[in-house]
Structure formats: C-alpha cells, structure tokens
Symmetry: C3
Subunit: 438 residues, 3 copies
C-alpha cells in the first residue's frame, strides 16, 4: 500500500469536501431542533445515515442528572400572531425562530401593549429574528425582526402557540472509534438549536466528517470518542453516566462550534489553559492557520463549561472559526446557510483534522545511538566537509538533538524555532533511517 | 445575631478610630524608651491597660540569646551641655533625643573642639535632632539641631550625662489569641525608641488596636500571636525561646512599622518573596489601597531581618505606610505627633485588618456538583436566554470555574482578573447557595 | 603558607602567560594533523612534554565505536599540481591545507576541465586556502586560493597525491586530576585539524595550560577530567568506553574551542541550556568578560554535539572567544599564528580559569546563627547607629540573608543584584568570622 506523509495511505483517508458538508448542513437546516423532542431525533437519524456506527441514547423525562432533572419534551405544531382579519403577521411556519423555545400554549386576543412584554427583537439588527429560549421557566413569547415589530398594528391581536409538554427523552448520539491505546481523544458538538447554521449546524456536520475520516484511517494511536448531544444538559447527562471513564481515559479533546464561517480561526483555552489540547491547537494554529485568535477560558460559552468543570476537569479546549458572540449573526436568523460556506466548513474541518494528526504524532521520540549517528552513510550529512556544506543538515540535527524521550513534538517545535511541519518532516526522516524510535 | 459580610457580626467587632489610636500614641510619646529599662516597662504597662490579656516577660542581663548577650539596662536621669554661666544650651529634659542612647556617664568641662566629635546633627535638616544610639560600644554623645550646633559658644562648655548601667531585664509583651486552627498568624511591632511617633509608636499602637479587634471577633480560623518587643535584640530573644514552636506553626504574619503617617501604603517582601503573607498583602494593596509601593527584601530594615533569617525562615513580610528611611523625618525629632495623624493610623490599621480578613477567607473552595449547577433555579442565572442576558452571570461563573480545591482566593483573583472584593463577594454568594464548600 | 583570595596560595598556582601558550601553539602549528595518523600522535607527544601526566590511548582501525567504525589511518607524503614543465603550482609541502583531508592516491595528467571538480577555493576570500576533508567517502581534491585557481594554466596538468590508507589507530590523551569529591568537571578540546591556529590549536594549548594550573593548586573540590581527542569520532570513541562513568560523575564541564583570538568572549549553551556549566559561564561572562556573546545550543558545532547528545546528556557547554563560523578566517589558511595572539590566548585561559574558580566556590553556604549574628562585635557593623551609617553593611547582610543552604553563589548573585566578585568577597568575609559554614 502506498503511504504518504504521516504514514497514512495516500488515497485511503476519506476527506469530505466543503460542498459535501454544506449539502448536509442545508438538509439539516430546516429541522426544528430544541433541547429535546422530535427535531433532535430527526437530526440524529440524519447523522446516523452519514455515519452508521453512531449509537443513539435516550434519557427519560424526570431523570436526575447531577444537579439537574431532565424536563418534558416540548412539542410545537403551530404558532402565529394574527390581525383581526386572521391574517398571519408572524408565522412559525415561515421561521422556527419566531417562537421562544419551550413557549407554553396560548390562544388569546391580546392588546398590543399586553403583547409587548412577550416580544423579542433586536433594534441594532432590524432585519434579524433573535433566538430566545426559556427551558426552565414557563413563559411564552415571539421573536421577530425590529421591522416586523414596528409594523404590527395597534389594535388587539390574536396570539396562538399550539404547543404542549410531554413525557419524553433527552437524546444524544456517540461513537467510539478504537485505537492502539485506550487513551481517548474526545470530540464533541451539540444539537439543540433550531434553524441556525454556524451556531450550531457547522459543529455536528464537521464532526460527522471527522468521524468518517477517522474511521477510514488504517490505524490510530488513540481511541476517539465523538459526542453529538444537546448543549449543557446533554453534556451534563453524558457526564452523569461516563464521568469515571472519561476522567480515567481522556487525554485530549476539542469542542467543535461555529466552525463553518469564513472568519478567523479561533481557540478557546481549556480551564487549565496548558493541557495537551491547548498546546496542540496553539501550535497548529500558529503554524498553519492564519489569521487566528486565542481566547481565554474566561471567554468560554459552550460545552467546555461542562467538560472542564472543576470536578470533571477533562483536558479539552474548543476550536472554531469566528467565536460565538463575536459575529453579529450569532443567535439570529442571519446565521443562515449563506453565512456558513463550503470553504468555511472545509477550513474548519482541516483545522480539526490537523490537530488530530499532530496529536497522533506528538510523541517524545528517543534517539537510538550514543553520540551522534553517522548521518553521512545514511545520505543525511554532506560527506565532503567544507564551509559551504556546513549548516545544510542543521534543522535535521537540531530536531534529533531533542529526541531525548522527554520532549514531545510541540516542545521540539518551540525549542528549535522550526515550523511545525519541518519538525514533523525531520522526524519522519529520522525515523525512516532508524536513528530515533519510541 | 445579625451578621455582615465575611460572616462577622455587623456591629460586634471593635474597631478603634484613628482619633482613639492617636490619643494612645500621644500618651506614649513622652516616655523615654531605650533598648532596655523603665521606659520599655512603662510602655508595656500602658499597652496592658489597653489589652489586659497581653503577657509581660523579662530576660535578665547577662543571659545569652543566640549569638548575643543581654546587656545592662541604661538608666538616665539628666543630661545637658551648659555654658560657663551654667545655662543649659542642650537639655535632655526638653527632648530625650538629645542624648546618644546608652551614653556613658560624664561630668566635665570640655573645649568646643574636644566636644565636636561627640556631637551629632543633620546639616540637611537644620531644625531636626537626630536619633543616635550606641548600645554595644561604650561612648557618649549629644544630638542637637544643626542650628543649635552653630550657635554653641566657642569657649569651654560643661557636659553632664547622669547615667549608669545596671543589672536589669530585657522586657517584652506577647498575646496569643486562639482560633479554630493551631496554625498561627504572627503580628509584631517594637518598643525601644524614645520620643518618635511614626517609627516607632504607630506600630505598637496599631498592633494594640488589632489585638482589640481580633479579640472581639466571634470566630477566627487562625490563632494569632502578637508581639511587642525591643527591635532586633527583642526579636532575637523571642526566637531563642520560641523558635521550634514558631517554625512549626506560623503560616503567615506581618511586621507593623511606620504605619501612622499619610504617605503611600507600602510592603517589604519576605526573604522568599512569595509567601502567603506576600501574596495576601500584595493582593490587598493592589485592590484596595492606593497609592502603594512594593519593596524587595533587599530593602528590609526591621524585625523581618530576624523572623526571616535563614535558620528561622518564617513566612512573614512587613506592612507600613511610608517606608522607614524614605521619609525625611525618619529617626529625627521631626517624627512627632503631627507627622502621624488619626487618618494615617486609621489607614494603617485598615490595611492590616484587611490583610487578616482576606487571609481568613483565603481558602481553596471546592465546587460541589459534577458539571455546572443549575443556577437558574437559584436565581443566579437568567432563565430567559437571549444575547442581551448572556454575560450577566459571567463573573460569578468564572469564580466558580476555579473553585477546584487547588486555587485559593488570591489565585482566583489573579486568574479571573476580577477585583479582590468581587471575588470575595462571588464566593459568599456561591457558598450561600451551597454550590461550593470546603 | 600565605593564601590569597579563594583560599589558594598566592604565588603557588602556575599560570602560563599568553606568550608561553603562543610559543607552544607555534611549535604545534606546522604538524600535519588529521582525523588519525602521525600528526595526532606527534601533537599528543608535545602535550605530554608540557603535562607529563597525560595518558595516551589508541583504538585500532576497524573497532566499532557506537554507530561508527574507526577507519584507516591516512598517510600522506607528498602532493602537488604541476605544469607540463614539472613546476609545482600547488604544493602540499608549502601548506598542508592544499590537499583535501583523506584524499585517495592519484598520479595522473588531467585536463584543466577534468581537474576543476576536484578543486576547492573561496571566491569571497581570494587569498585563503580553504580546509576541506572527506573522511568517509573516498575521493581526492586540492584546496587553493581563488587567485591560484585563476592563474592555473589551461593545458593538461599533472596531479600527484602520494597517500595511502593503513591499519592504524585513533589516538587521544586524557588526564584525571583528583579532587576532594568524585564529582567530575570535564574539560575537552580536539586535535585533528592541520595547520590552523584558532580552530584548532588554541583549544588544546589552553587546555594544557589549565592542566598545569589545576595540578599546581594545593586543593580542588572537584575531580577534573581533561580530554584531547580528534573531534566527533574521538569524542564518540571516548563515550564508547567511558559513558557510564561520565554519566554518573560529571557535574559540569566545558568544551574549549577557538579560544585564542581577540574577539568577543562567547558561550554556546548546553543542550538543556540551564546546567551548572551554563549558569557558571553566564555569570562569569556577565560580571568579568566584556564584550561577550551568548549562543544557543542550536548554534553548536563542536564536541558538545556528542557530550550533550540525548543518550549521553552531560551537563557541558562551550566557551570560546569568536565562535567558529563567525570569523572569516575560520577553516582557512588565514586562521594562522597571527590571528591567534598571546593576549587572545591569555584572555581565553582566564575565562576558563575563572569559570573553574567560581565553580569551586559555588556552594550553598549556610548561616550558623538563629537570627542575625552580632556583627558589631566582629567589626562588620557600625556600632554607632545613625542615619549616615545605615546601609554601609547592606551588601554583606544581603549576601548573608540568602546563605540558607538552598541557594548557591550564582543564585545569591542574581537575587542580590550584586556583582559576582562582590558576592564572593562577602562570602569570604562571612566565612572568616564564622557566621556561615558548609
């Protein structure tokens, strides 16, 4: 079998294109996801279609998960605000963001002034419908553009939300891809937002592509654990049943979020800030992904809040393109399938893939000889010693000098000041002539 | 019992005002203290009157204390320089700084030129009488203002010092205030200078007020050890009898000195520079006391020289207002009861009190839950999730994120970049809803 | 016996002058050294004449030394390029650099064009003969100045290299000078270059002078191991037979190279960069040798490549004047006995000597007393305490403050900010009055 760089077969690995990922995203976009309910299950079913080995799990309403209780499922069939002639002015059927998530049932004629406290719009983004939820406090509300709000008539309006709450399940999917070691790399994203593309669909879609790529590799040093679950409660529920295992086995991992736009590549550090995940992501970003930004854990906002929580303390950080909250479309109807692009998704996928590739190779290699090996007879050192040939082999010899079983690839990259890819290339050469080993 | 912040009864603790401390200081100012003798004992008696539980101790002349021997007591009744008509030109009765401390007895008619080698004045401060001592080398001398010196007549003068040296005692006082833990916080100042207000009376007076405040607290986590002893020899003598105990028990502490003027708040680091005492004082100064200055141990000059000496190595630093040697009045008659003010003393007391308060709370708290707790049902998180409400709870959640049993309050303050008081406030909130514990 | 600073007899130690060392260097300059052969043995014999206790060792051709095999000795008797009239245009008898080291035998009439690929010259240094070797790949060649090359006639030329390869030995010398401790300081240089003065003869010559000085000292805390061996292969061969001993015993050491010109004093760090050797050399350079330069291990180029190699990992760095490769004369005939000067050699020797002296004194001293000692009765503190006398004893007391058995002389130098010599002087004083000890 022909193998390319990193010892991986050259045509073997499956890398889905940005266009392919974008098509998946467009398929999933209209589904009305929420914390729990049919939208989550429909999304998982689609992901299983892409990656058949994903396993689906459900946790019943009422189950205690750590400090929380799994609530009822929210079922919504219809919702609108209509004028006295019955014309729908705001219509859930047109955009599922129009209703506050987990709104209670209502069918009433209300005065405009009475309605106002139940309306959510964004004066600074007059064409955007905001995304609002109230999972744990019973209330109802409508989200609409500022322009729609201004054009609502003064008179009494009919508001209908045809929803109810049923005993149901919190659903999530996971996939464990075994490797040579039981040490695990955990990769997660979340599935609980209605029609928004960067936050959230880019995450689950890139994670699906990573699953397909990882499964296609002939070998993996680490075991990979991939999780698609509703944000926050899904992560907390996952911890309730997997905490001991995760604490024992997870050595690195990343949350994937907002990973499909074309903005700067970004990293949100783990709680400790210096885990293997942080170091790998920082090295990859610095050497291969420009422009990029680094954020502190103090700026966190996704499931690293749970994975890194004190009593959990997994060594995980988050990778993304423009960070949540840093793009104006965030949590609005403007976060759509045009804001996320095939190129944006492809870039996000590549960032995650390179983090994994570097992690797989990030071994503290050991020199095999006592004193320098005779590189000349291995064609890696000029046999004729002149001032002109001095220095040609320096990068290679500098990498070799730190193959002492105590410094990993990231250390050597930093210590030699060489580009990450040059270090990886030197290590491949040194390994091929057997002057270094594990 | 009503309790205020820090779990301390709101009106319970006794905080003596700056005016009260200044009145004590004025009472003690005229006493003619020296290394040993009646002045030290009179000062201790006054302190016992303020804090009856202070215990007095005496060490006899001739006792070996580590590398030193307790010398004789110096008794001085009168001293003057008089002209041929018997008029007192320089008079110990007017200012006890006029005589070099531990001067030997003399009664002689001397030529002006002969006298000159025994005179001490400060050309740069022509109205100041300098403070000079010669504890261990027998000599005599007079201190006077530069103006007085210039106006001394040329002719022969009578010099009289009516002093002698007697077998006596080195006296000091200490007070141990028990707390929940046997771990001790040591607070010290010194009592061996004649009539000077900032260096030294501000120290013993603020220490007395701290004793009264500590005794009034309903509970203390630490045990407090307060020491009022002559500088250097008193501290060395204290070490001679307490070294093992102190080394085993003292976890923090501060020397109080020059703590009653209105200049910058200052800190002189411990020998190690990074003890708990250093960290607490630096955090308190940075967050609450402006302007402030930090000095290295290389600039030390008081009893931290003994407490931090290599074979002693207590984790103690020094807190003060303007550092000794940095104000022109230092060790002169200008360091009087107008240079030290009620406001200056109140500020110095408050600095010490806040250091102790923060120390008492500086615990590595632990989160109680696995994954984030449901803050919404505790009214600590917005139940309606919109972009507008995001961020409100961030400071609280950031403090919580580092309650991992490994970072104390100072660490969290540094890691979150929040003001110290905000961190303390967040911890009080988190503790009240029981999401953190010890 | 009268002793001077550092407890060393004042006239006892033998310090060879720069002129003496330069005379040795001029004696050794014409010898035609190579990796192996009579030139190396002649050089060793001269060194034994200077330092009779040096032991000579030989390793036979064909012996495996780690990853290498000791090659044949190269014997060269004559070599020239002659015109058709037999006139020698390039003549090995005039300069042994004219022949590529380890050139194979040839006697042929060749066309100019055919010859060209076997000629080495330096267009940028038209008067310099470059130094070229091909130890492990059989070839032949001539080195000549660019000017000589341009004036070679067009027609056929006779090239003669009268060399052959014989079963022989790799030769080196070493010397172990015992001290109070079995811990060793290793000092090395190399002997394998033909007629060049700074690289290489300055190194072996200064090392010989250090041997004579070390042997003349009445006592040494450390054992010293000095090695004169061919570069690279000699070091690797030395490791083959001494690795375990060296790893167990060597606590510091320096490679001496290019140490006889008058350029900047330089240091090439060890692989770890923070060994005792690095710290000593940096402190000595910073305090006593200006101007100086610091280079990273990434810029290495001599036997520290072997001594510091991962599986060897001795705590050794390199000291020199202008670094190899940084002076234009490097590896050419311009590196001659005028480029190296008596003053240059004397400065290089002094740098090495001071490193050793500081290393010998670099002890974590311990204060003997509990609390400060009474310095006044030891005449080390003013007995009269005035603001004028405060501070006189501060440097001494600051050094004393860190004699805690945990900080060595280098630490104290850094912590106090005092010049290295002031710290050493303070320690001598403190030791003389017995307030510090081991």
């Amino acid at each position: 079998m022909r193998t390319g760089r990193h010892g991986v077969p050259e045509e073997g690995p499956k890398i889905d294109s940005g266009n392919v990922m974008h098509a998946w995203l467009r398929d999933l976009f209209p589904v009305n996801r929420s914390l729990m309910g049919p939208g989550v299950r429909e999304t998982l079913q689609y992901l299983v279609h892409l990656v058949p080995s994903i396993e689906r799990h459900s946790i019943e309403t009422g189950t205690e998960v750590n400090d929380w209780v799994v609530p009822y499922e929210w079922r919504i069939r219809d919702a609108f605000i209509a004028d006295k002639k019955g014309r729908r002015l705001i219509n859930f059927q047109e955009n599922n963001l129009h209703v506050v998530g987990y709104s209670t049932r209502i069918d009433a004629i209300v005065e405009r002034s009475e309605l106002d406290g139940h309306l959510h719009s964004l004066p600074d983004l007059p064409n955007a419908i905001p995304y609002v939820t109230s999972y744990y406090n019973p209330t109802w509300g409508f989200c609409l553009t500022e322009n729609q709000r201004s054009s609502l008539p003064d008179g009494p309006l009919r508001v209908v939300i045809d929803s109810d709450f049923v005993h149901g399940t919190l659903d999530y999917g996971d996939l464990v891809i075994p490797g040579e070691s039981k040490n695990e790399v955990m990769l997660t994203s979340y599935i609980c937002h209605p029609s928004m593309a960067n936050n959230e669909l880019s995450g689950p879609v890139v994670l699906a592509a990573l699953a397909r790529w990882l499964l296609s590799l002939p070998q993996r040093r680490y075991t990979y654990r991939l999780v698609w679950a509703p944000e926050t409660l899904g992560a907390i529920a996952y911890l309730a049943s997997h905490l001991d295992h995760l604490r024992r086995n997870v050595v690195a991992g990343w949350v994937l979020t907002c990973i499909g736009d074309e903005g700067d590549y970004s990293h949100v550090a783990s709680r400790r800030g210096n885990t293997l995940s942080d170091r790998i992501a920082a090295a990859v970003l610095r050497s291969e992904f420009e422009p990029h930004r680094f954020y502190s854990y103090l700026d966190r906002g996704s499931d690293e809040r749970q994975w890194c929580y004190p009593n959990v303390d997994l060594p995980m950080s988050s990778i993304m393109r423009t960070k949540y909250g840093e793009f104006k479309q965030y949590h609005t109807s403007l976060d759509d399938t045009t804001f996320v692009t095939p190129a944006g998704l492809a870039g996000g996928f590549e960032l995650a893939r390179r983090c994994i590739e570097v992690l797989e190779l990030n071994i503290p290699w050991r020199a095999n000889t006592v004193g320098e090996p005779q590189m000349g007879r291995r064609d890696l050192y000029p046999t004729l010693s002149t001032t002109a040939t001095a220095g040609d082999s320096r990068p290679l010899m500098n990498v070799l000098a730190y193959c002492d079983g105590q410094h990993d690839v990231l250390d050597i990259t930093e210590m030699t000041g060489l580009p990450l890819e040059s270090v990886l290339s030197a290590l491949r050469t040194l390994r091929s002539v057997e002057v270094i080993g594990l």
